[in-house]
């Protein structure tokens, strides 16, 4: 399994039967491919529907049924469409159980930066600020480092997407949980050691007494 698949699979295992989940663009969308058999997850797409399904077959795309990235999508039985105020009412109102997003930076306090690099790239926050504040569990799914440089920091340096909202960070190397006491390393990826994770992380890590390895075969 490549590293992105490892991340997506571990994130999928964090979800619960019946959850409503919003997946960000990029790596997070891969999570949908690893939902355990028999688990019923409803995906929310912030552009206006519940019941986001798999990408349609080539040639069967409907340009009026797209996901929040504008990519042709599908709706599963039991889904529905709505306007943007309703969509963000669902998100802000705590009706989304989990949101999975990428990050440019995330820190040990649970701060997240993923929408702006001043002077370089200012795409806008889109729905990310609402999602991170509104979802009950915020899961960051990303490759552990950016060109060898840590992305999990003591303190974010880029403009924040949200303050102290991140709950769990999953990378190919580790699963870390943001707690009142700091960032707890709870699990190791298939090939990582504690020393590897510490070396690739700027944030101070608290090593869980119950540290274990990802159980990807479960």
């Amino acid at each position: 399994m490549n590293e992105k698949a490892v991340i997506a699979k571990r994130v999928a295992q964090l979800l619960h039967d019946g959850d409503v989940v919003n997946l960000g663009i990029g790596l997070p969308t891969m999570v949908a491919n690893y939902i355990p058999e028999g688990m019923d997850i409803t995906f929310q797409s912030e552009n206006g529907f519940l019941g986001l399904g798999p990408a349609p077959e080539q040639g069967k795309e409907d340009c009026e049924l797209v996901n929040a990235g504008g990519i042709p999508s599908s709706i599963v039985p039991g889904g529905m469409f709505f306007d943007s105020a309703t969509s963000f009412g669902i998100i802000r109102g705590g009706h989304v159980d989990a949101t999975v997003l990428g990050a440019m930076e995330v820190d040990e306090k649970g701060n997240l930066a993923n929408w702006k690099i001043p002077g370089k790239m200012v795409p806008g926050m889109g729905g990310a600020m609402d999602l991170v504040v509104g979802a009950n569990t915020v899961i960051i799914a990303m490759v552990h480092t950016q060109k060898g440089k840590p992305k999990i920091l003591k303190q974010c340096t880029l403009p924040l997407t949200a303050k102290e909202q991140v709950n769990i960070i999953v990378t190919e190397m580790a699963l870390m949980r943001v707690t009142d006491k700091g960032l707890v390393l709870e699990e190791l990826g298939p090939e990582a050691t504690v020393e590897d994770v510490i070396a690739a992380t700027e944030a101070k890590l608290i090593i869980s007494p119950n540290l274990k390895r990802f159980g990807l075969d479960e």
């Binding site: 009026e64 504008g70 469409f81 009412g89 926050m125 102290e164």
Partner: protein, 218 residues
């Protein structure tokens, strides 16, 4: 019954220099492309745009960005249109980035006669800068004001001659809320039907909000 159907040329004459316009659509999905094309061909300029995003250089309101018709843009995301960043960086266009849910709620607020609302979205980020904050039930919120426009340009799939609208799948997005929040509302219809042809249980937005209907929507 008042005839609301006008030609596309009559419609775009309603949009004049220095006006504020709202345009429906999410990454150009559900945008009134015919009205946008006609506005690009017109000489109207110095407009303020309220839209979820700035589409693409060749799709949605992005075409009007390329033809430099906006002095100010209020949107949640501009990353899919490099021309917006160019104009923002060169200082020719002012870009106000707003979280998507806050943008949708500000428009609903403007259309629903409310004076403002408190949202938790953006606390601890640049989105709170210059804004009043308030602690309500122990949680911090940002005060947001209503947003209205001179003209709203919408796209609907089916419109009856009174302006009652049906939006296909994910084309709904900002269209029904913008319908409520502008002094003049023009809807581009893919299909115009007689009053009564749409089941009252399936009308998604009332024709009472609509001043003019333009046929020939794509």
């Amino acid at each position: 019954m008042i005839n609301k159907i006008i030609s596309i040329n009559e419609a775009i004459e309603k949009v004049q220099d220095n006006m504020t316009i709202m345009v429906g659509g999410f990454l150009a999905n559900g945008s009134p492309e015919s009205l946008i094309d006609a506005l690009v061909a017109s000489n109207v300029k110095n407009l303020t745009l309220i839209c979820n995003d700035t589409g693409f250089p060749d799709k949605g309101v992005g075409k009007m960005v390329v033809s430099k018709q906006f002095k100010k843009i209020i949107a949640s995301h501009v990353g899919t249109n490099p021309e917006t960043a160019n104009q923002m960086n060169s200082g020719t266009t002012e870009v106000c980035l707003t979280p998507q849910g806050t943008l949708a709620e500000k428009i609903r607020c403007g259309g629903n006669g409310l004076g403002g609302f408190y949202t938790p979205t953006g606390i601890g980020t640049e989105a709170e800068e210059g804004k009043e904050k308030k602690i309500i039930n122990g949680k911090e919120y940002i005060f947001e004001m209503p947003l209205r426009a001179d003209v709203a340009l919408l796209k609907a799939s089916v419109v009856d001659k009174k302006g009652n609208m049906v939006f296909n799948k994910t084309t709904k997005n900002f269209n029904p809320i913008m319908a409520t929040a502008a002094d003049l509302v023009i809807v581009e219809a893919e299909k115009i039907v007689e009053v009564g042809e749409i089941n009252p249980e399936h009308v998604m937005c009332s024709g009472i909000f609509v001043d003019y209907i333009v046929g020939g929507g794509k």
